[in-house]
């Protein structure tokens, strides 16, 4: 899992570096507040993915969805955890029901803003 996460991050960072020239390991590490050597190890899968806050910061730097990076790191964002903890039975059932649903069907499952009487 650490290797998948690291590989994904490295490829994404290198792709950005090729177009913007401000995404070297050193530059990205500096912007998210870690040592370049640490980020380098993360990218090689030699150390586990960083904390949620660092992953969210990394996602911002790489123009990626934080939830995608968190999932690659084997984590679920704390706000989602809080949502599930508030109504565990409901969300556990919902997620299990949805797990085999194709993407196009899931994408149609959206919450609408309710219109009332005015």
């Amino acid at each position: 899992m650490a290797r998948d996460f690291g590989t994904y991050v490295r490829r994404r960072r290198e792709a950005l570096q090729a177009t913007r020239d401000d995404c070297s390991v050193r530059q990205v590490a500096q912007r998210i507040g870690v040592e370049p050597s640490y980020l380098s190890k993360v990218e090689r899968g030699e150390t586990p993915p960083p904390s949620e806050a660092r992953i969210v910061a990394l996602a911002q730097e790489l123009d990626e969805d934080p939830d995608v990076l968190l999932a690659l790191a084997g984590k679920v964002s704390s706000d989602l955890q809080a949502v599930i903890r508030r109504r565990p039975e409901l969300f556990a059932t919902l997620i299990r029901e949805l797990k085999r649903l194709p993407d196009h069907a899931v994408l149609r499952l959206v919450r609408e803003v309710r219109d009332g009487h005015w």
Binding site: V110, E112, V113, D115, H117
Partner: protein, 303 residues
């Protein structure tokens, strides 16, 4: 259908066309001085937070539950502008306290001309009530019931408050017949910075230049059978905390903060777009500054 995503409303009309979408977000900004001078458009200072009214059904006023929609906190010293983003032509009615922000007439469903009572999605943003050709008075928040809101000045009552939005997409056959290479509007850029009583109503504040584009399409090109509408409730920030348990947004900037931050004002250019003449009804409304003077209320600072 309307979705709330990242503090923006996404109007989508899949039953009309897969491309039929309009995004509206609500930008916080500085209240420009209400001193009779005409100002350029102010920059955005981040989005107002939006929440489903249904998420707080037990703590909002009963009328909010009846209206449905969303709610947002607004400081009295803040102003609001609406940003529109769409590649699919739509017509959008905007009302404050159920007073049409373009004509000053009471809100009514449907689209009308003479005067045009809506804006089109070619309009990149709207900052206030249209009070003359190319001239608007900024949307600023005042407590509902204090007599400042456009609704109270025109109807004498503080019945509705809030902001009402109603969007109609172009009919699919007219969209399909468009030469899409020719209509892509040049994206107008406007600076948007990161954010460093009870109910509220929108009142006319300071003056600024902004044109409401005149619509050249026939009205029957719009799909009036598939409109979507949303009531946006405004809560003062303390009430917001009471309802949601969340801290209110960052204290808004003052004019001095704005100047100190060096954030520029923006001129608005609309080459080749005709403007609607503006509403005499809205032009006759008194600005917050004029009303406060009449009421003999001493007002602190520049606002």
């Amino acid at each position: 259908m309307i979705e709330l995503r990242s503090d923006a409303l996404h109007f989508r009309f899949p039953e009309v066309h897969d491309d039929a979408m309009l995004r509206i977000d609500f930008q916080r900004t500085l209240r420009i001085p209400d001193d009779g001078t005409v100002y350029p458009l102010p920059a955005g200072l981040g989005r107002f937070p939006l929440r489903h009214v249904d998420d707080f059904g037990e703590s909002v006023p009963p009328s909010w539950n009846a209206h449905g929609g969303v709610m947002m906190p607004m400081y009295q010293s803040e102003a609001l502008w609406l940003a529109f983003e769409s590649d699919y032509p739509c017509a959008l009615k905007i009302a404050a306290g159920k007073i049409d922000a373009v004509t000053g007439e009471p809100y009514r469903p449907g689209l009308h001309r003479g005067p045009q009572d809506y804006v089109t999605s070619a309009q990149p943003w709207l900052d206030g009530f249209c009070v003359g050709k190319g001239m608007i008075r900024q949307f600023v928040a005042m407590p509902l019931g204090a007599g400042y809101s456009a609704e109270e000045q025109l109807t004498g009552a503080a019945e509705h408050g809030g902001l009402q939005l109603h969007v109609y997409p172009l009919k699919a056959e007219h969209y399909e017949s468009i030469d899409h290479g020719s209509i892509g509007r040049s994206r107008m850029m406007r600076r948007v910075s990161s954010p460093s009583a009870n109910e509220m109503g929108l009142a006319p504040g300071g003056m600024m230049r902004q044109e409401i584009y005149q619509d050249r399409r026939p009205l029957d090109h719009y799909d009036l059978d598939h409109g979507s509408r949303c009531f946006v409730h405004l809560a003062n920030s303390l009430v917001w905390r009471g309802i949601t348990g969340e801290a209110p947004p960052t204290t808004p900037f003052t004019a001095e903060d704005y100047a100190r931050a060096g954030i520029p004002w923006f001129d608005y250019y609309a080459d080749g777009e005709a403007a609607v003449p503006g509403s005499k009804v809205l032009a006759a409304l008194k600005s917050v500054a004029a009303l406060a003077k009449e009421k003999g209320q001493v007002r602190e600072g520049r606002f």
